[in-house]
Symmetry: none
Amino acid sequence: MIVELINTGSELMLGRVLNTHQQWLCRKLADLGYVVTRQVAVPDTGSDILQAVREALGRADLVIATGGLGPTSDDLTRDLVAQLLGKGLREDAAVLAHIRSFFESRKRSMPERTKVQALVPEGATVLHNPHGTAPGLALEVRPNPFRANGQPSWLIMLPGPPRELRPMFTDTVAPLLQRVLPLASGFVCRTLRTTGIGESVVEEKIDGPMRRFVQAGLDLGYCARPGQVDVRLAARGGGAAQQVREAEAVVRELLGPHIYGVEDEDLETAIVHLLTERKLTLALAESCTGGCIANRITNVPGASAVLLAGLVTYSNASKQKFLGVQAETLDQHGAVSKPVAREMAEGARKQAQADYALSVTGIAGPGGGTAGKPVGTVFIGLAGPSGTVVQRQFNPYDRDTFKQVTTQQALELLRRTLLSGSAENLV
Amino acid sequence: MIVELINTGSELMLGRVLNTHQQWLCRKLADLGYVVTRQVAVPDTGSDILQAVREALGRADLVIATGGLGPTSDDLTRDLVAQLLGKGLREDAAVLAHIRSFFESRKRSMPERTKVQALVPEGATVLHNPHGTAPGLALEVRPNPFRANGQPSWLIMLPGPPRELRPMFTDTVAPLLQRVLPLASGFVCRTLRTTGIGESVVEEKIDGPMRRFVQAGLDLGYCARPGQVDVRLAARGGGAAQQVREAEAVVRELLGPHIYGVEDEDLETAIVHLLTERKLTLALAESCTGGCIANRITNVPGASAVLLAGLVTYSNASKQKFLGVQAETLDQHGAVSKPVAREMAEGARKQAQADYALSVTGIAGPGGGTAGKPVGTVFIGLAGPSGTVVQRQFNPYDRDTFKQVTTQQALELLRRTLLSGSAENLV
């Protein structure tokens, strides 16, 4: 099954807005077993839209196009598609009534041009839009003049605003697809998320053992982000679920505790869940990460039940004042040192009366490095009920990546300690 | 000038990651006067990449492809492009030395397969990658067998990770483009960044007065993000610079202090600069923003000179312990209240001995709202040498947007106060 996605919008070409439809629709489609094979985005001009739709209909069994169904002069998709397929447009009474009632219920007068949204190409199925005025449209192009063999294609047009597109896809498009384009075989996809291990090491470890699965048709992929590598396993056909399950077992065996979650789960969510389950609390003492750890933890709903306090102590004075770091420790070892990381973690744990406290002190750069402690040097401390450990790490990246990677390492130190009951073997 | 963008990655097709390259690259290219006319994303399979590159070379003067240059088996772009253009691959000694030193400086052994990244198609220009091991590649396809008239095209291949791609584009690709593909006529683009004012209000204020500029060929665009609206002014041709300069003067007159910066400048950078210039220091007391303000301030190089401490006081106990908020204030008014915001700001200022202290307390949701204080309610306090002010805001968005918008409002309160010497007129 060949599936292609077309997004229209001149603002996309200027980089003024982020195209979130691609990810959302591709994910939803993949979860249903329809894997998109090409995404195209073009400006709101007639010739670009026509060319993109014609090309996609020449290749794909299913084409989903977004945008260009609204009432303004740059909303051209409906007209262009009718013209391309040689179909007339008729005013749909039910759609017009919906548009009228949409404005009435909001006590707003209906602009005259809004009526164009009630125009429907002959033979098209109207996809109701409870959240807006422009309906979606679905058309079977049969026979299909753009494919060499005349094989039919489905063309589905969806409104641009995400709050209209998303419920329409879930409520109307997904059931339609399963009815008109049922999948010949099953499809299963699984993503394992790892941290604390580089992309090439992940591949070195699993590539050989996975060869037999890949030869049997498994799709194996990697995706690296700062401090994180995802391993994706996908398969089709009757045995897909078993194949993915077996491959996952092998990967888990090889990567062990580096795997912290599956699918979309992030490390901070895993940690908030672990702490919540165990009724444990956390405090943070951040220097060079500057609140990045606190910010990520507090992105997780429910974080307030586990995070007691986060202290961003950039200055030496604030390390002494809020964390009780000793002046002589700072003098003797410098702020970026193992003893200071230790005192920061222990001080945060004590002051906030938390079960665990993470501390970070390092040199994010661009300035501040020395020969013995170059930019990128960082000490990560963790104080807990069974003592304190400090890791030295070296993350010589740009400032933003430094913060992200260091945050990931700190969260991972905490996660591994919570799982094993001790961090000794990690340091 | 026809410009097309190709992103490769099977994870994009499955919707596992958001494609941020498109927006970033399109924006940067547009600001240089190169407007992208088509974005295509395809899986990491040989035939899809080949087809996409061939088609783009058949249409465009400039093709930028991202991804597929790494060391793993699904990194195919380099090999496929060499094959498509009939070029051999040679090992580049300088690239190999860079890869070796990259691993050495990180005290990691170099995996053997990493060496493939030193292979360069004959005639290609190597684009140095200081932030990773895979270099970018630039090739002039001349004569171009894929275009009807044999007209040449430039093909530029960039590594996938944003922290590698972005500096490479800015430092190497932008100057290369201006040299090898100079624009026929002048192009000037200016972005003014505003905060504290909605998109429709911005449009209402400037649309009329800008009409004469737009009629004379000025391209006027708006881009709204959480807590921020950008106004983009672009013009082509001989008088472009003057036209943009005059239009900017009119916009500045109309929007006044809502404009906090130009181009890519963000609010936190503006604030760190203001504080540094004036030798002033800052402390933060965050509840519902959970470290987001501290994280943004500390993203700015040099923040350590102005930010003394950031206190993320989620729990009532930590508000009392670290900020000296009174138990009776919490009891009487609740943690989300004007008096608590005031005591948090004043407490942070006093404890950290800072010139200014910002505080935030509110309900980020999804839970925790009441009839009188629904989810989205937030109080922002600012304590300074001339007293304390507290703003009440209502930001009923999802958790992430709530944090971003609230952070933007808090930073803006501080910026306006620093500029005017008093916040009284803002509250």
